[in-house]
């Protein structure tokens, strides 16, 4: 137990000192049991401040240190490092947060000072019983897993492979490429999406370090940073990509027709098909669900015609385990369901489309070979209405968030429309235009000025069909007029939402979700590519709506994090892990059941913690009736003493 604790009370300029009487805090703390040194100082985190810590430790033979200052998330490391320099274990230094949790949120100086004393006191009591711990070293598996093969996953995989790391890229669809593969041109430069994506996809397939697993999903993950064990399930692959010659003989004979999801349902496909000409792996694929029957074989025509012998109906799903040191999650987004926007006629009228459908209409590889035609009657729409923010920014009814890219792609769509149908008229309903980004604002301006797109600021209240036209009722808030447009086509800029299955993958990987369902980053500013679980990183639209440049940037950022992580010989894991007090443990295994990390087992009738797996959450502590288990440095004794200290009159 520490008996010589030092306390520094930081003024943080006026940030703390304006409300908290820091001198009084120091004076009071100096009277507490075990406190032998106590001072206030204007900026503790400054060089002289840190120097003062080092000196105080040395001069006063301190065996514990409390810094009453800002949130530990900011400077805990700073002061722990300073303590180490002073010759004191970093774990013997604790932060009392008297800024965020006190001076900034209270006005009354007396109350704030009183509370600051209590907070500091609790920290003193805690530090007095902190053990000086050494980090736990763990060896690293130098291989990474990337989940999701959109542009984010592709970029990450390529960057990682480039750095010499082995990569497993898991994609649940039969081709990589993700949503970007469906786009026609991309804003703001209007270069062809597939033209810039395909080379990367090919690079993936050619890279010997990348093991591409399409039609595969992660089933479970165990282990921890540096040493994950992943179970991957690969669907039965009835067409061998190595043998498939892309001759298309099979699909010709297939009697089945189902909507083609890769074409956003605008066209049909066979049960055996190729999603895109550029698909990687370059191979046909057999959709088991659509096929008339494989077990037993009902039709079997494709197998008969395949001269390459690439089709094998006897294939079964395979499950295998892989060890990886890090995981990047890039599972992307889906568009907000059309069925949820009935007020805009979505799902009801064939000519009310979503953004991706419109991309497919524009795309040369799409159903209409790049001609913008109405799905209902294949006529060229002469009047077209784009509705921005459909589903976005509407916390009451739909999604609370801004999908960020819709302003841009709507401008792009309108522009593309005008390029395809120069005599047509495009209207855009918007709430406001968010075109932050290099060249973005100019792009939007161009669509208005050069392409004569009419922008109406306001919401659309209703879309209904009348006389072969889609009547769009809205309001132009700038002029204050109600507007009614008889359109031939309506395109909804649907909100982006986390791709289907994001919640499941989050659960499997034990990473958190934000309120909106996107994957949660560890810190919104300082750790934007880290998930809350060490060793698992996030890239692309799975973490939040973003466009391609941002996606690629984040993908590369995630890759660089992984590269940094896996370049270490061994990882250091926080030593504040659970510790069993053997004589008290009866082996009831309640902690074993409660531990979310499977970090506890029974050995010889007593609980035993695997320190490497333990994350120090204390779930075990909370269930053990015998108090036979504690998390180091937040022991129950420490909490008890903190409670007593805080409440003592």
């Amino acid at each position: 137990m520490s008996k010589r604790t030092g306390v520094f009370v930081c003024h943080c300029g006026k940030n703390i000192a304006a409300t908290v009487d820091v001198k009084k805090v120091a004076r009071e703390l100096a009277k507490d049991d075990g406190v032998v040194f106590c001072e206030d100082y204007v900026y503790m985190c400054s060089d002289p401040g840190q120097g003062a810590v080092i000196d105080a430790i040395k001069e006063n033979d301190l065996d514990g240190m409390v810094i009453s200052c800002c949130s530990p998330t900011l400077h805990e490391k700073t002061f722990r490092d300073a303590s180490e320099l002073g010759g004191l274990s970093g774990f013997r230094c604790e932060i009392a947060n008297i800024r965020e949790q006190c001076s900034w949120v209270h006005k009354d100086p007396d109350e704030a000072t009183d509370k600051a004393i209590k907070i500091s006191r609790a920290a003193v009591r805690r530090v007095q019983r902190n053990e000086p711990l050494d980090p736990i070293g763990v060896p690293v598996t130098r291989r990474a897993l990337v989940v999701g093969g959109g542009i984010a996953g592709i970029q990450t995989a390529l960057d990682l492979a480039d750095a010499g790391l082995d990569v497993i890229l898991v994609e649940k669809q039969s081709t990589i490429g993700g949503n970007m593969l469906k786009l026609s041109e991309t804003f703001p430069t209007l270069d062809c999406s597939q033209c810039i994506l395909s080379p990367k996809m090919v690079a993936v397939s050619k890279n010997p370090r990348i093991r591409l697993l399409t039609e595969s999903e992660v089933e479970s993950v165990s282990g921890f940073v540096g040493n994950f064990r992943v179970r991957i399930k690969k669907k039965a692959q009835y067409v061998d990509p190595e043998l498939c010659k892309l001759c298309d003989d099979c699909s010709q004979v297939c009697p089945v027709a189902v909507p083609n999801e890769y074409d956003e349902g605008l066209t049909n496909r066979r049960a055996i098909f190729i999603p895109f000409a550029q698909a990687i792996p370059a191979s046909f694929t057999l959709d088991e669900a659509a096929c008339l029957g494989l077990k037993p074989v009902v039709c079997g025509k494709c197998e008969e015609v395949c001269e390459a012998g690439a089709i094998d109906f006897d294939k079964r799903p395979t499950v295998f385990e892989e060890e990886v040191g890090a995981i990047v999650v890039a599972t992307g987004y889906d568009l907000y369901g059309m069925d949820k926007l009935g007020e805009y006629g979505a799902g009801r009228y064939a000519d009310v489309l979503d953004g991706l459908q419109f991309e497919r209409l524009c795309s040369a590889s799409g159903a209409t070979e790049g001609h913008i035609l109405r799905p209902s009657d294949h006529k060229v729409p002469k009047e077209i209405v784009f509705i921005q923010c459909s589903g976005s920014r509407d916390p009451e009814n739909h999604c609370a968030w801004c999908s960020k890219i819709c302003c841009m792609y709507t401008a792009k769509h309108a522009t593309l429309y005008k390029h395809h149908v120069p005599d047509g008229q495009a209207y855009v309903f918007y709430i406001d235009i968010r075109s932050g980004g290099k060249g973005y604002e100019e792009f939007v301006q161009r669509s208005m000025e050069k392409d004569g797109v009419i922008y109406l600021r306001g919401r659309v209240s209703r879309v209904y069909e009348q006389g072969g036209k889609l009547r769009v009722l809205g309001v132009d808030t700038l002029s204050g007029r109600n507007v009614e447009i008889a359109a031939d086509m309506v395109v909804l800029a649907q909100a982006m939402e986390p791709s289907k299955g994001t919640a499941e993958i989050a659960k499997t990987l034990k990473i958190g979700l934000g309120k909106d369902g996107f994957l949660a980053e560890a810190h919104p500013k300082l750790k934007p590519v880290e998930s809350v679980t060490a060793g698992i990183y996030l890239a692309g639209a799975a973490q939040g709506p973003k466009d391609i440049p941002e996606t690629v940037a984040q993908a590369s950022a995630a890759a660089s994090k992984v590269i940094a992580l896996l370049s270490k010989e061994e990882l250091h894991h926080s030593p504040t892990v659970a510790k069993v007090r053997d004589p008290y443990c009866t082996g009831c295994a309640m902690c074993v059941d409660a531990c979310p990390y499977e970090a506890i087992g029974l050995v010889g009738g007593k609980a035993a913690v695997n320190e490497v797996l333990c994350q120090g959450c204390g779930s075990c502590v909370g269930v053990c009736v015998r108090a036979a288990i504690d998390v180091k440095n937040v022991s129950q004794l420490q909490i008890h003493e903190m409670i007593s200290a805080v409440l003592a009159a």
Binding site: P583, Y584, T586, G587, A589, M590, D593, V623, V625, A627
Partner: protein, 348 residues
């Protein structure tokens, strides 16, 4: 009817054949009418076994004692006799064994459960008996069907309605026969309809908050902190109780540091606050573990209605989490498991 002779014969046989180390059961006591626990090591003594409505103790408590002694023998480098122990168990006792099994305190093969049915009634509450004229002088109480007890005072035998003498725990009991057993004596009577489960708790809940506190303050104030309630409970087998230590871990390996840093969650003083802390902690510790044998309440010398605290949580566990202690020794414990649909509305 439980054939006591058959039970004795069965016990004698187990011992005779060397299949068990000992049989834990009941025999006639010397003080008053109550039977008392006994441990029989030799077949010949099986003759003294009894089974009647004064067999109050939850004998699972002695399985705990037995395991502790086995462990102590082991540390003294004696090879413990690995044979199982047999235990005479009522419904609640067998549920206690199930919880001990669930918590790995025992292995199924370590215990032979000689189940006895409560004959559709249960055991008596000695205080109810004593409250009757001459009740203190009763020399025998016998089962007389599901609805009555036969009480012998001096030479006279009287039939007293079961309801009037039954322990409260038995009135509310939902399973008056041991589901977990190796052999069962007596019939399983399922429909009893003596009282609805959790009636007492529900009644207590009806009072106003202030009245509830007044009641419990009164009780906590009376508590002697003798810890009989804990000592008798088969689930309170912790080597050292968190809340107060009258038994605590002190092995040659216990360090000075460990002794010096024991947490004093509550003081030894028998005051309202400290006793409240003790009882509330104990209640929480028994959530999902208490099998409502009512022993704690029975032994309390000042008659604090301790069962209420435990059955309150038992009721919550049953109603909110569909959890019953001692029902299935394979299930995860109440507090180390959860469901997504657990109540959330009490949280802001």
């Amino acid at each position: 009817m439980v054939n006591v002779d058959a039970l004795r014969g069965y016990a004698a046989d187990l011992l005779e054949k060397g299949q068990v180390r000992a049989v834990i059961g009941y025999r006639r006591g010397t003080a008053g009418v109550l039977a008392q626990p006994c441990t029989i090591d030799e077949a010949g003594e099986a003759e003294t076994l009894v089974w009647d409505p004064t067999c109050l103790n939850n004998l699972a408590r002695y399985l705990v004692e037995d395991r502790q002694q086995q462990a102590a023998a082991q540390t003294r480098n004696k090879t413990p006799d690995g044979r199982p122990v047999a235990i005479v168990a009522k419904g609640c006792d067998s549920r206690a064994v199930a919880v001990l099994l669930q918590e790995n305190y025992l292995k199924r093969e370590d215990v032979v459960i000689i189940g006895v049915s409560c004959e559709g009634s249960g055991v008596i509450d000695p205080r109810k008996l004593a409250a009757r004229p001459e009740g203190r002088w009763a020399s025998r109480v016998d089962f007389a069907g599901a609805d009555a007890f036969k009480v012998t005072v001096g030479g006279d035998e009287t039939l007293i309605p079961a309801r009037d003498l039954l322990a409260d725990r038995c009135l509310e009991c939902r399973a008056a026969a041991p589901a977990l057993n190796d052999v069962l004596f007596g019939e399983v009577v399922t429909e009893r309809g003596l009282d609805e489960p959790f009636r007492a708790v529900k009644a207590a809940q009806g009072a106003t908050e202030d009245a509830r506190w007044a009641t419990w303050e009164h009780h906590f104030d009376r508590c002697l902190r003798c810890f009989a309630c804990r000592a008798v409970c088969p689930m309170c087998y912790c080597p050292e109780c968190v809340v107060d230590s009258t038994t605590f871990v002190n092995t040659p390996g216990t360090t000075a540091e460990e002794k010096a840093t024991r947490i004093r969650w509550c003081e030894r003083s028998a005051s309202v606050s400290e006793s409240a802390l003790y009882h509330l902690t104990r209640a929480i510790h028994l959530a999902g573990r208490c099998i409502d044998c009512g022993e704690c309440e029975r032994v309390c010398p000042v008659n604090i209605p301790l069962r209420l605290l435990n059955t309150k949580l038992e009721m919550e566990a049953f109603e909110q989490f569909q959890y019953e202690a001692g029902r299935d020794f394979g299930q995860a414990s109440l507090l180390s498991s959860f469901r997504d649909e657990d109540p959330n509305s009490f949280i802001r």
